[in-house]
């Protein structure tokens, strides 16, 4: 069954406290090549049957209204992934 993948990231101008904690932990494991980390969210919406334009539009609307908060986050990607 196809899935619609929605990726949400904290807005660039917002300091991401979780990403900051992760970038602090990486060197302790010997991963010294990474200067910053930003943590986002990935949602997978499973669709029964074909992904029509209308269903994709619904997914975009859900991404903007529920899955992300436009004050602090951006929807950076909405795409269909065939199973």
């Amino acid at each position: 069954m196809p899935r619609i993948v929605v990726d949400v990231m904290p807005k660039p101008e917002i300091l991401d406290p979780q990403g900051k904690a992760i970038v602090g932990a990486l060197p302790r494991l010997g991963f010294t090549s990474f200067s910053s980390v930003r943590q986002g969210k990935r949602f997978e919406l499973t669709v029964e049957g074909e992904v029509t334009d209308a269903i994709l539009a619904q997914a975009r609307e859900a991404a903007e209204t529920l899955l992300s908060n436009p004050v602090i986050e951006d929807v950076v990607n909405v795409e269909v992934v065939e199973a």
């Binding site: 979780q18 004050v71 602090i72």
Partner: protein, 261 residues
């Protein structure tokens, strides 16, 4: 010697005082979502202030005849997705949003998770993100009341400092500079942290209001500072009193019964 109030007894207004019956006639709804923690304390605070607390359930489709609403703290829906994000779409919330925006201007107070729900509902601007130090923090917090004209702060003086508990993980208030400037210019920063900013909130903001002043949200917990012997003073003596939070509830009750200044 004054007697300490019995637990559960109204202390702001003695039950036999003139006007007590009028206050008791004011009905304050207290909303419970799955995962709400502080609904009992909020209802107690309403009763201690002399009002009548009315339990509301998130799935209710009507507000009944309440005169004001408290959205208490906790972890509605486990804080899944974002704090307050799922609660915002509960059936009762659409009624609260409509009533808050109506001409009647229903007074609404959001405490902690309730504040997060109000920002997710767009009743209040901005948002909360994780504390800048990433830890859950629980402490007695000094606040300055910046605006004593909202429905929930009429019984305070502007500039008054109060001490109430604070306990949260996602308490860092953020908004863009334009929104922050507008909030300041319009007197909508209602509470500011004093002495110590516990979560990195922009401009030390602890609580804000909507333009009309009927909707107020804050991260600290006034409902945990309403009873002698059970508030900040008893625990660590940092000043203020045990009952600094009671004014939220007496403010709205007095406003409802028409005694607002």
């Amino acid at each position: 010697m004054t007697e300490l109030p019995l637990i559960g007894e109204a202390i702001a207004v003695a039950a036999d005082a003139p006007g007590a019956r009028r206050l008791a006639g004011a009905r304050i709804g207290v909303v419970t979502f799955p995962g709400t923690l502080d609904d009992r304390d909020a209802a107690r605070a309403v009763r201690l202030a002399g009002g009548t607390a009315v339990p509301l359930w998130h799935a209710d489709t009507t507000l009944g005849d309440v005169d004001a609403v408290v959205i208490p703290g906790g972890f509605s829906y486990g804080d899944y997705l974002r704090a307050g994000a799922i609660a915002r779409f509960a059936p009762l919330m659409s009624k609260i949003i409509d009533a808050a925006n109506s001409d009647a201007k229903l007074p609404v107070l959001g405490i902690c998770n309730g504040f997060q729900i109000l920002t997710e509902s767009h009743l209040l601007p901005g948002s909360m993100i994780k504390n800048d130090h990433l830890k859950f923090m629980c402490r007695d917090q000094v606040l300055r009341v910046e605006n004593s004209n909202t429905a929930w702060t009429l019984d305070y003086e502007a500039g008054q400092e109060i001490t109430v508990p604070l306990k949260n993980q996602d308490g860092q208030y953020i908004a863009d500079e334009k929104v922050l400037d507008a909030l300041e210019a319009e007197g909508r920063v209602v509470f500011r942290y004093v002495g110590f900013n516990p979560n990195g909130s922009r401009r030390d903001i602890a609580g804000i209001s909507n333009a009309a002043g009927n909707v107020v949200g804050l991260m600290p917990h006034p409902e945990h500072a309403v009873e002698v012997g059970f508030g900040p003073e008893s625990l660590d003596g940092i000043g203020g009193s045990d009952t600094d939070g009671l004014g939220f509830f007496t403010s709205v009750l007095n406003k409802i019964v028409g005694g607002n200044k």
